[in-house]
């Protein structure tokens, strides 16, 4: 008698599990209670044990695969028992389930609801209780017909959950052209992503848009702007990450943000600036230029905060493109210093100045303000001591920089007046945890407080 091995609910809140490791091979003898596999639940890695004796005849999912609770994942049966029907049926019946997210089910129910909720003729509803059955059938039919003529297309406009609505063609084009559906704004009914949306998105510089590797290697730094494949690493979400994401978003909103503040000593930065100015005007750089350089260098050492949140995965970049918030007449815009970690202070300073000017003149091209991997916003020039910046999705972090002020601080047990500057990092908690962000700020502090490290 065959025993079906299903994904079991190994924690009270578990809805799906990721198979970390099979501990038995196909063909191995199995006794009830023996461990078959290690399963990562939303909380921990747990053991899945056999519920019957026999041979592990068939494993239906691979290591690394995720399966919803209840899905058949293996079959234990006698060595000579025919399990074709069980295994074949399972493959057919389970495959779509495994692929489709759970939110699909209510989405598909919806149009039907919309049909039945088409307003009824009031005269009809009054007689509802005493209506003979055949008349009710007829009315049911009429109601259906009216709805399917008029309302069918619009039905389901308000679908629950975060399912991305898109036409089949749009999905195919998006996959052909490497456009992330989640990053595209749909212009069709109910936000449906349609062909024209993908075409527009594809003409914009896309993260992950293909460019030959050889060409990248040869191109000078200044021309290599957009991040291409190989410049980043996509990491699928683990169960614990998924649970964190869901819980945090429930709590605080779509981008669960937290803030880390540090007061940095910029005495040495100030000294360095002055020393540079003495060398001549061409060596003049601003505090902000130095901050940008330091942030870029720190990001290079902390790819874990140099990242994008892409809905179903996190993207960690090997290249550092720093967005720089610039106030313009009626808002703000964030031009990007590409490969900032590989540019010298002089380049960063000049580029920052040019970008800011072009931003205010409204002369920025789209490719100059898209593709940042992290951003910096500075309101110090307005005398702001400290503030929190709002993350620019899909980036996972932004650094808010306050003014440089002289403050009385304790230095080696004595009072001293030092130049100090507050920075506050806003972190998307789905990607960056508290300690991760803190380590980045630690590095940043080291760099800013010892600016000579920036020339290394």
């Amino acid at each position: 008698m065959a025993t079906k091995v299903v994904m079991e609910a190994l924690s009270p809140t578990m809805e799906e599990g990721r198979l970390v490791k099979w501990t038995k091979n196909e063909g191995d003898a199995v006794k009830s209670g023996e461990i078959l596999a290690e399963i990562e639940t939303d909380k921990a890695v747990m053991e899945l044990v056999a519920r019957g004796d026999g041979v592990l005849r068939k494993r239906l999912i691979n290591e690394g695969d995720t399966a919803p609770v209840g899905q058949l994942i293996a079959i234990v049966a006698a060595a000579d028992e025919n399990i074709d029907e069980l295994a074949g049926g399972a493959a057919d019946a389970q495959a779509p389930k495994a692929e489709e997210p759970k939110a699909e089910a209510p989405a598909q129910e919806r149009p039907r609801d919309a049909r039945t909720s088409v307003p009824e003729d009031p005269a009809h509803s009054q007689g509802e209780a005493s209506t003979p059955p055949q008349e009710r059938d007829r009315r049911g039919h009429e109601r259906f017909a009216t709805a399917s003529q008029g309302a069918a297309l619009g039905a389901g406009d308000a679908e629950p959950g975060d399912r991305v609505r898109s036409s089949p063609l749009a999905r195919k084009l998006a996959s052909d052209r490497g456009v992330e559906l989640g990053t595209v704004q749909g212009s069709g009914p109910g936000g449906r992503i349609v062909k024209r949306d993908i075409e527009q998105a594809a003409t914009r510089p896309q993260l992950g848009a293909a460019a030959p590797v050889a060409q990248r290697a040869a191109a000078p730094v200044a021309e290599r702007r957009i991040s291409t494949e190989g410049d980043y690493q996509d990491i699928p979400l683990t169960q614990i990450r998924k649970t964190i994401v869901r819980r945090l978003a429930e709590s605080i909103g779509p981008v669960p943000t937290f803030y880390l503040t540090a007061e940095l000593d910029v005495e040495r930065v100030a000294e360095m600036r002055e020393a540079m100015i003495e060398l001549g005007d061409q060596y003049k750089v601003s505090f902000n230029d130095i901050v940008l350089k330091a942030v870029a260098t720190a990001l290079q050492q902390h790819p874990e905060v140099n990242a994008h949140w892409l809905g179903d995965k996190m993207r960690y970049f090997n290249r550092v493109h720093v967005g720089m918030a610039v106030a313009v007449e009626d808002g703000l815009i964030t031009p990007v210093i590409f490969d900032a970690d590989r540019k010298g202070l002089a380049d960063i300073s000049r580029e920052a100045r040019e970008l800011a000017k072009r931003a205010r003149d409204r002369k920025l091209k789209p490719e100059e303000y898209t593709g940042a991997t992290f951003s910096v916003s500075n309101l110090g020039m307005f005398g702001i001591d400290h503030f929190t910046a709002i993350i620019n999705p899909p980036e996972a972090g932004i650094l808010a920089v306050g003014s440089v002020e002289e403050r009385v601080v304790a230095v080696d047990g004595a009072q001293a007046i030092r130049k100090r500057m507050n920075v506050t990092m806003s972190c998307d908690h789905r990607v960056i945890d508290g300690a991760t962000g803190a380590k980045f700020l630690q590095t940043l502090r080291r760099l800013i407080e010892n600016p000579l490290m920036l020339v290394y």
């Binding site: 399917s148 297309l153 089949p168 063609l169 999905r171 069709g188 349609v194 062909k195």
Partner: protein, 327 residues
């Protein structure tokens, strides 16, 4: 090229085929002495005599059955119904005799015959006489169903229908009889059954139509072309067998489609077309396929209500705009 009415194009087809093959004969109510209720058979009695142009009593089931019997013994009958609404009385012969005879006789009795007559609504003929029957008839294995829209197609398709070895249901349009179009003279026009034709070339949206609605589709296509919207108008011409390839080719190009027909929505011809589209073109669709059809009511007699119930250019235009996401 001569401009000929749909009515006269059919007359030419009948005349040519009766000349071409003396087994062909025409039978129905008023087809002889009266030259046909819609004058399609004008002059045929004079030319071919009462053996080949046979007036019948008002007894559709009876003369349809005589036709099937004649086909069984080697003749090639053309049965004219004064309208397809009257043919309801003869459906037992069409569906249970003509369509099944070859199959149930194990191939002994092919039924090379044509059932023809006007189909669909005309003007203010009310609920019982304004019906489009193609979805009923196309449902039946063993029948071919043809719905010509233009005089040229009417002639070419009727000639092919008469030469076909199977029972063919040939659905004309009362409102089409007076329409005119080019029909070349002195050349044999034989249009193969089962082949659709592109009546307008466009890249923005496919409109799949047949019979009378082809004219609506062309009208809408020409009007929208002035706005820069180009419709690909596919005239099915034959409902069964249906030219799935032509439909798929068009929809794969335009990524969207509207199907228009005279009949009702439920289980209509358009439902079958949409089914083919979703199966053949799923990855190519950028919008749900919409249908334009008669309102789901018996055809009203009142002029304003009749107009509201019928598919028309306005409804088709609205559907096209909707699948183009223009509103």
């Amino acid at each position: 090229m001569p401009i000929v009415t749909y009515r006269d194009a059919l007359n030419q087809a009948l005349r040519e085929e009766m000349q071409h093959d003396d087994r062909v004969f025409l039978m129905g109510e008023e087809v002889g002495e009266y030259n046909g209720a819609y004058k399609v058979s004008r002059g045929l009695l004079d030319q071919f005599g009462p053996m080949r142009v046979v007036d019948t009593p008002i007894a559709e089931l009876g003369f349809a059955g005589i036709g099937v019997g004649a086909a069984m013994v080697g003749l090639r009958p053309i049965i004219e119904f004064m309208t397809w609404n009257f043919a309801l009385l003869a459906l037992d012969q069409v569906v249970n005799a003509a369509a099944k005879m070859l199959y149930m006789s194990n191939g002994q009795f092919p039924i090379p015959m044509v059932f023809r007559g006007p189909n669909g609504a005309a003007l203010q003929l009310s609920a019982q006489h304004s019906q489009a029957w193609e979805s009923w008839l196309a449902h039946i294995p063993g029948l071919k169903v043809v719905t010509p829209a233009t005089p040229y197609d009417a002639k070419g398709l009727l000639k092919s229908a008469i030469r076909d070895e199977n029972p063919v249901v040939f659905l004309e349009g009362e409102m089409l009889y007076n329409t005119k179009g080019e029909v070349p003279e002195g050349e044999e026009i034989l249009i193969p059954l089962g082949k659709a034709e592109r009546k307008r070339q466009g890249e923005h949206c496919s409109v799949i139509a047949h019979g009378k609605t082809v004219l609506i589709a062309i009208q809408v296509a020409d009007a929208l072309a002035k706005e820069g919207i180009n419709l690909d108008v596919i005239d099915l011409r034959t409902i069964r067998p249906m030219d799935v390839e032509a439909i798929a080719e068009s929809v794969k190009k335009t990524n969207r489609a509207v199907v228009v027909e005279e009949g009702w929505e439920m289980c209509g011809v358009g439902a079958q077309v949409v089914d083919y589209i979703q199966r053949e073109c799923f990855d190519f669709l950028d919008a749900p396929v919409l249908r334009v059809h008669q309102a789901d009511v018996p055809m009203p007699y009142a002029k304003n209500l009749e107009r509201a119930a019928k598919p028309d250019a306005q409804k088709l235009t609205a559907a096209v705009r909707k699948v183009l996401y223009l509103e």
